[in-house]
């Protein structure tokens, strides 16, 4: 059924269809609409689920962990400081091998108190063991949230999954949305060791130096296995529902001399810049990584690479730029843009490409363009 929906509403609709047993969440701008909509679905019987209106985000993740350990399918949503406040427990959810699904609406970290789009919140979770995907349209937000449950709960994965939406830019924009009838696309939840007095065991007990590293290795093994599970899930989604996704979305990149690499809506708006540049005779293309963890193999061979980071690692550099440098063994033009919701248009992106200086870092709005 085709209708106009915001990113937040699309996520709530997907969650309704995934039928989590427990939703524990706390409001924060620009995510609140997701939680409010789910609360309304539960109150009006459209979704049979337990809604726990926790008193903080640390508690929302802890509550999801508790429910998931008991065998529940769980969901939460947050943003920025909420995610940062949860950080102790996001580590826990991944280490405990729980298939929690979380939608994070990307927003800058304070101070200053800025509620607009920035990826630093999710980027700072990159080492935890959570799978992470960045979406760029309302349709993709809906489709990917549905797929997230199936991927997280797959026996070869059993790691939590974070779906990222740009704050306001995607969470609040209204775009066309086709919803589906999932049917049995998401199998019933089944975790291997739900708490059960009939089968007692210690969960997360003291673990000594001779054993802890093995659990960490297992997490990485599952993270690598996740690549195949993601691929298989996306193929099944395409077969059933007609929309295909991959680890990255390429636009006119095949024969491109220079590609723009960016996460989220900037990666989608870059496609408009690509068309403009092509009309000028510049063979541009874009490669929008969707999956950030596990980090995908991007095909950038023989191309100049312009990376836009909507994040920064102080004293180090743009995180996406660095990932590409090390994974693809290539120099890049590292553009830092869009922090705190700084507006970046397709014209700006085209300018980044026209004036690229491979090997250098450029802070949009700060450094002068030559």
């Amino acid at each position: 059924m085709r209708k106009i929906a915001t990113g937040n509403k699309a996520v709530a609709e997907a969650v309704k269809q995934a039928r989590p047993d427990v939703v524990a969440a706390y409001p924060i701008t620009p995510q609140s609409e997701i939680v409010e909509t789910i609360a309304e679905y539960i109150a009006t019987g459209k979704l049979e689920s337990q809604f726990i209106p926790v008193e903080s985000e640390h508690s929302s993740m802890a509550a999801c962990i508790g429910a998931s350990i008991a065998g529940a399918r769980t969901f939460t949503a947050t943003s920025s400081h909420g995610l940062a406040y949860m950080h102790e427990m996001t580590n826990w959810a991944a280490g405990a091998r729980l298939p929690v699904v979380m939608v994070n609406v990307n927003r800058a970290l304070a101070p200053g108190w800025n509620i607009w789009a920035e990826h630093s919140d999710a980027i700072q979770e990159r080492d935890t063991g959570w799978l992470q995907v960045f979406v760029s349209t309302v349709q993709e937000a809906y489709d990917t949230t549905l797929m997230a449950f199936r991927i997280a709960e797959h026996t070869d994965v059993l790691l939590p999954v974070m779906v990222n939406l740009d704050g306001f830019t995607l969470s609040h924009i209204m775009q066309p949305l086709d919803t589906v009838e999932p049917g049995d696309f998401i199998p019933p939840v089944h975790t291997p060791h739900p708490v059960d007095p009939a089968h007692p065991g210690g969960y997360g007990t003291i673990t000594g130096p001779a054993d802890q590293f093995r659990f960490r290795y297992e997490m990485e093994r599952s993270m690598q296995q996740a690549k195949a599970v993601i691929g298989e899930t996306e193929q099944e989604f395409a077969r059933r529902f007609g929309r295909a996704y991959g680890a990255a979305e390429e636009y006119r990149a095949g024969d491109a001399d220079v590609v723009v690499v960016a996460l989220g809506t900037l990666g989608k708006e870059a496609e408009v810049a690509v068309d403009i540049l092509r009309n000028e005779g510049i063979k541009a293309g874009s490669v929008r990584p969707r999956w950030f963890r596990p980090f995908p193999d991007l095909d950038l061979a023989g191309k100049e690479v312009v990376v836009i980071d909507r994040d920064y690692s102080f004293g180090f550099g743009g995180v996406l730029a660095h990932a590409i440098r090390s994974k693809n063994l290539t120099k890049v033009y590292s553009v830092i843009a869009g922090l705190g919701g700084q507006e970046v248009t397709y014209d700006d992106i085209a300018e980044f490409v026209r004036h690229r200086r491979i090997g250098e870092e450029f802070w949009f709005g700060v450094n002068d363009r030559v």
Binding site: P27, E36, A39, P53, E55, S56, H81, A110
Partner: protein
Amino acid sequence: MDIIAEIPETEYVLKCTSACAGCGDSLALRYVLKAAGPDTVLVMPAGCTAAFQGVYPKTAYTLPVVNIAFAAAASCASGLSTFLRAKGKKTKVVVYAGDGATLDIGLSAVSGAFERRTDFLYVCYDNEAYGNTGMQRSGATPLGAKTTTTPAGKPEVKKDIDTIIAAHEPPYQATACASYPQDLFRKVQKALTFTGPTFVHVLSPCPPGWRYSAEKTVEVGKLAVKSGMWVLYEREQGKLTISPPSKAAMKNPVPLEEYLALQGRFKGIDATTVEHLKERIAGNFRRLAAEEAEP
């Protein structure tokens, strides 16, 4: 600090903040700051008051404001106050935080700061929901009230933060209401004569959250007190005194229905819940009267 009889004219809140029309909190804020005076530092967590402070590079408040993370106001104030006092400074440290920050996400920090006897005044402005993020329920939302996360009315009763604070044995605590500014002014002044921790809990009627027309804020706040849904009192070294408007309400309360009828958040509330609220009001009055009567 001298007690002054008249409310000073100096305003510490500049005109034309981005507060909603009829905002009870902005009214309370003006009187709290008048009582605090110029040698004051404010600590504000995320919330309505921090939001209508304005956008960089301007601020609407002519006192220094430390903005801090949602859960951290009390602990931040604790650090600030501890250092100022160690340096011999008498600058007042006032936390100005909403009900969400105080009763929910920041409760642990509040308890810690009170248990450590932090020398500060903690003012909790209570609009009975998460106002700044669009009116989701908080622990302070009353039984039966509709919010965006309790579309069918909140099933749980309002968390009694004042009793929780009392258990920390502060030298002074009080409840107040934006509709009674002189009472609020007097209580904040009195709180600041004590070495802290002290606590003032201010009911702040909220037009978009409680769903009433903006010009009715003062009336709604008065009905909260006159019906007994909100009781004005103070405890000095643990000794309770009920304030005159609530004394009058105890003798002759306005029917609760009058208070509820003005607000869209109580629309459709069922009779059982209304009865339950009335029982709680009566029980609360009895409990407070008994406590006041103690020697």
